[in-house]
């Protein structure tokens, strides 16, 4: 069931009614059952993967936590009988056992994810290279595995939880079903945000009262998400797909427009879906973590990645980057480099090596094709270049008497970051890395003419549609600009009820009238759903 469907609307309305009708202490059970029903509707057999993840992580976390309790009890009992060294050795032995459990837990879940996501592609590559090298035409059959709904998201969320339990940041959840709700909560299971247990636990299980203000606020958020998804993203999708597939037929300006449009398509699609998820959760009085913070206003790539898909970025930072960069082996390698290759290299190695690993994994997380790894590593390259050229950039600015707080400097940086990120995004919608590079190069070729009729006809974006898309993008930019000074929704919610409802009806009307529908229309599925 798509988050953008009439069925989902009725599903939400029914669950909402039930949720507020039952006593507070049973509300989480309503959410759990509805989440399982929601998941079953995507394919009952896929629930087994979800249950495997939930059961393995729940058991692992409980075991780790129990060892903590046993350790603390033992140390308290033998407080005076053990010296410092003995206590340290005992703690280390417990930690070692916990580490083994954590390792098994992570391995089992990563293996499932890896197999489902990469096995078919692995076999395809194997067949291709075997044919190329040995001429063997016997193909190994591909099992044709289908990715269960949201597996990349809930696997990361549950692994984050068990690692936090291992670190002692959170206590493990005793009730299996409560934990199951944490990873299956239906608004977020499709495409995130990737929540932390410490934050979501409080939201899911705390006492709730029916508050009309929350419902109104949630509805505004849902409609804003639909605005981004249906009016911007879905409207631009045909243009992007067509121009990318037939790039040889189109001159530079059309391809540049394709890159520009895709930046808004992917933002409208993903952040719109997240708005719907956050809005639906808000109807139940549950606050989900924000996943975007107006990324197109970023002044550097590093800032962009702090503001785009925030929950994935912080996940990689906390569970991959930091563990790697403070790992003894990497620190020692840094010291060795410092001694033999100089301070500059020694300083960079413990930061850049984990960064490269993180970006290769980020690319792989997005998909099994090699183009995603190329995309990840290119992002990493530009991040490294940005860091390395920062001193030079500062010197140039000094020479030109420019300051960081000048509007012109800020605008230049926003412009540069936007286009760089937009260009790298081409790897999302091309078939191979080579296609991506060719498309980027083709943008700069054949600028001799530009005819709007081409867009209206062969590029499948009629004049009216183009105007609606451009106005919607302008509205999005204006809203984002105003939001820098605070939430617009919060301001609307301070007005009287009639104004609030009028705004709501107005926004709903805009979505209904200008949404990208048609005869037999079916909303485009979310791009991030397939990740």
């Amino acid at each position: 069931m798509s988050l953008i469907s009439v069925e989902f609307l009725f599903f939400c309305a029914f669950v909402l009614l039930l949720y507020y009708l039952v006593k507070d202490r049973y509300r989480w059970i309503v959410l759990l059952l509805s989440s399982l029903v929601f998941y079953c509707l995507a394919g009952p057999k896929y629930v087994l993967y979800l249950l495997f993840s939930a059961t393995s992580v729940y058991t692992g976390a409980r075991l780790i936590d129990r060892m903590n309790d046993t350790r603390d009890a033992y140390l308290s009992e033998h407080k005076d009988g053990l010296n410092r060294e003995e206590k340290k050795a005992y703690k280390a032995s417990v930690k070692k056992k916990q580490k083994r459990i954590l390792f098994l837990c992570v391995l089992a879940n990563v293996l499932v994810l890896f197999t489902l996501k990469y096995l078919d592609f692995g076999i395809a590559y194997f067949n291709y290279y075997r044919l190329l090298i040995t001429g063997n035409t016997n193909l190994v059959p591909q099992p044709g595995l289908i990715l269960p709904l949201g597996i990349s998201f809930y696997t990361f969320q549950s692994l984050g939880y068990v690692i936090d339990v291992y670190y002692g940041k959170v206590k493990s959840e005793r009730n299996y079903f409560r934990f199951l709700l944490f990873i299956s909560f239906f608004p977020q299971v499709v495409q995130g945000p990737i929540s932390r247990f410490s934050a979501l636990q409080q939201e899911l299980f705390s006492e709730k009262r029916f508050e009309m203000e929350r419902i109104t606020s949630g509805l505004y958020r849902i409609l804003w998400g639909l605005f981004k998804k249906l009016i911007i993203a879905d409207r631009l999708s045909s243009y992007v797909a067509r121009s990318a597939a037939f790039r040889m037929d189109y001159k530079g300006p059309y391809l540049l427009l394709c890159i520009f449009f895709y930046a808004f398509q992917i933002y409208g699609d993903f952040s719109g879906g997240i708005d719907v998820a956050i809005g639906v959760a808000e109807l139940f009085g549950i606050r989900l973590t924000e996943n975007f913070e107006r990324p197109f206003f970023s002044k550097s790539i590093a800032e962009y990645w702090r503001r785009w898909h925030i929950t994935l970025g912080t996940w990689f930072r906390d569970y991959i980057f930091y563990p790697l960069s403070v790992n003894k082996g990497i620190l020692n390698l840094g010291k060795w480099c410092k001694k033999h290759l100089g301070e500059a290299v020694g300083k960079r190695v413990p930061v850049y090596l984990p960064m490269i690993a993180v970006w290769a994994l980020t690319g792989m997380w997005h998909g099994s094709e090699s183009k995603f790894i190329v995309w990840g590593l290119l992002n990493c390259t530009f991040l490294i270049l940005g860091t390395e050229f920062e001193p030079l950039s500062k010197r140039i600015m000094e020479k030109l008497s420019l300051r960081e707080d000048m509007l012109i400097v800020k605008l230049y940086r926003i412009f540069k970051t936007f286009w760089l990120m937009a260009f790298l995004r081409v790897f999302d919608f091309v078939k191979t890395p080579k296609d991506g590079f060719y498309l980027m190069a083709d943008v700069f070729k054949r600028w001799d003419s530009f005819d709007l009729n081409e867009i209206y006809t062969t590029l499948l974006l009629p004049k009216e549609e183009l105007i609606v898309a451009l106005i919607a993008i302008a509205v999005l930019a204006a809203v984002s600009t105003i939001q820098r000074k605070g939430s617009i929704r919060a301001k609307i919610l301070t007005k009287n009820a009639w104004i609030q409802y009028a705004g709501l009806i107005g926004l709903a009307a805009v979505v209904l009238i200008f949404g990208s529908y048609g005869l037999g229309y079916d909303a485009q599925s979310f791009i991030y759903m397939k990740f």
Partner: protein
């Protein structure tokens, strides 16, 4: 703990470590500085710093870093 001051001044000599409480939050220390600092702390104070300690609150001031070392030494 004068060694800690020496380490910090070795990384950013211009900072007043007696008053500064936003080494991470104000981005005075970037990732290179933090990882260099961790390497130095591990060597000098014979403590094990793991990813769980990598939160801004542990590195925002000299005081916070000192508390972290003391905590880790006690473990």
């Amino acid at each position: 703990m004068d060694e800690l001051r020496e380490i910090l001044e070795g990384i950013h000599p211009e900072v007043d470590y007696d008053t500064e409480t936003g080494l991470i939050d104000k981005r005075i220390f970037d990732s290179f500085d933090v990882i260099t600092l961790v390497g130095e702390l591990v060597d000098t104070f014979d403590v094990e710093i793991t990813a769980e300690q990598m939160i801004p609150e542990n590195f925002n001031s000299m005081e916070a870093i000192r508390n972290l070392i003391e905590r880790l030494s006690d473990e």
